[in-house]
């Protein structure tokens, strides 16, 4: 088990900077993130986009900012659990918190800081009759083991890169692949779109354009899908698996079940110190909400600084907190 002062859920820029602010107060932090690298949205979604509102940097690339933050917090030696999703949060009898991940990692900490940004990303689900009923019984939202589709009838829905790429790949594995797309053109990578068109021309796959999957049917396991075409005409296709690939939608995930006050998928906080309605749990950055909230990295940094002051009092109730400017004491002395 990992033991630390503050467990920080989310290793985006706000979570990373919280390590720095907590470190100045001599608190040790452990960062947990479902993404395999630190940096959150910046590293995952727009690493090469310039950011213009970081003080002192007229412009800085997102990944460069993450690299600078890593460098800035290194003297405080934060722990990292990356590539694992936080599933559980439990208050122990001794007053500390136990964070559990989907991989079984356990982090014991005195305070919890949720810096989860957009939350976690879950598959975007289409409106299809009986979809939920067949989840795990033929319906899946990602391809993890292509071999499980060998010699099976597969229907893929979607028009993005994932739908194109898996159609191409599974064409060589499955008995039959049908790609259903609501439009008549693809905006995925041009070479992938071309390859799919070629596979359709040669009969290696079936391509159904301007159509949607609207219903599923089967006894215990998926057996067929119903597709509706542009004129509203329906037809049934034999299908062992239906794979809707419509990208990911941000959701709060397990955080929703922890008893926190939530408004429109964001955690309500007290702007005095960004504490939540649960003692010992703070929420900073894009995942929180309060009157006047601005979802800016800059604001997340501010929130981290204020949070750290209260977190110190929570973690070390018997110690006196003395505010120190880094210009006076430097970092090495504090680290």
């Amino acid at each position: 088990m990992i033991t630390t002062d503050i467990g920080i859920i989310g290793a985006g820029p706000t979570g990373m900077f919280a390590v720095f602010e907590a470190g100045l107060l001599k608190m040790h932090c452990h960062l947990i993130d479902s993404l395999p690298q630190a940096g959150g949205q910046l590293s995952e979604i727009y690493p090469q986009k310039p950011i213009y509102d970081i003080p002192g940097y007229p412009a800085i690339n997102a990944q460069e900012l993450v690299d600078k933050l890593s460098e800035q917090i290194a003297p405080f030696h934060p722990g990292y659990t990356l590539g694992e999703r936080v599933e559980t949060l439990q208050k122990l009898d001794n007053g500390s918190w136990l964070i559990g991940t989907n991989e079984g990692t356990q982090i014991s900490c005195k305070a919890v800081v949720i810096a989860g940004g957009l939350g976690c990303f879950e598959p975007r689900k289409p409106e299809v009759d009986r979809l939920a009923e067949f989840e795990g019984k033929g319906v899946m939202y990602a391809v993890r083991n292509p071999e499980m589709f060998r010699d099976r009838n597969i229907v893929i829905a979607g028009g993005g890169d994932s739908a194109l790429d898996w159609t191409i790949f599974l064409a060589n594995v499955a008995k039959k692949v049908t790609l259903v797309h609501r439009g008549d053109t693809f905006r995925g990578a041009p070479d992938a779109a071309e390859k799919v068109a070629e596979l359709a021309r040669t009969g290696a796959i079936d391509l159904v354009l301007k159509s949607r999957v609207v219903a599923l049917d089967g006894a215990g396991h998926l057996e067929q899908v119903t597709i509706t075409g542009p004129g509203g005409d329906n037809r049934n296709l034999q299908a062992d698996n239906f794979i809707p690939l419509f990208g990911l939608s941000p959701k709060l995930g397990p955080i929703e079940d922890w008893g926190l006050n939530i408004d429109r998928s964001a955690i309500e906080v007290n702007t005095f110190d960004y504490s939540t309605n649960i003692d010992g749990i703070f929420a900073i950055g894009d995942i929180n909400t309060y009157p006047g909230k601005l979802k800016l990295i800059l604001c997340g940094f501010h929130e981290a600084a204020l949070m750290a002051q209260s977190a110190f009092k929570y973690v070390y109730p018997d110690q006196r907190l003395t505010f120190k400017y880094t210009t006076v004491y430097g970092i090495t002395e504090l680290a």
């Binding site: 986009k49 289409p126 609501r182």
Partner: protein
């Protein structure tokens, strides 16, 4: 002044009036008017949680750009009337339009 109408998820329509020359996206106006859209990516055409349906005036709006079309194309149920409100600037092209906020994904 630029005038358009927003229909919420309950079907209630409200007129919105915005001064000309203001540099805001429709997403920002909707959030500022307390409509329950998430716009979690902050206007980068990444999350599609600010999607609106254009019930009136679609033809007068600027064509969607590549970034907007890329994300719209990944959504399960959208049609030509779907736009990302973060990609629509509030200017005279919105005059008289009717936007509906669809159900969340």
């Amino acid at each position: 002044m630029i005038n358009f109408i927003v229909e919420d998820r309950n079907g209630v329509q409200q007129p919105i009036e915005i001064p000309e020359g203001i540099s805001l996206s429709l997403m920002e106006v909707l959030k500022g008017s307390d409509y329950p859209i998430l716009a979690t990516c902050g206007g980068m055409a990444l999350c599609a949680t600010c999607r609106v349906e254009v019930l009136k005036g679609l033809e007068q709006l600027p064509e969607p750009g590549d970034e907007e079309l890329d994300i719209l194309d990944t959504l399960p149920f959208v049609d030509e009337s779907s736009r990302l409100s973060c990609q629509l600037r509030v200017n005279e092209t919105l005059e008289g339009c009717l936007f509906r906020i669809p159900e969340e994904d």
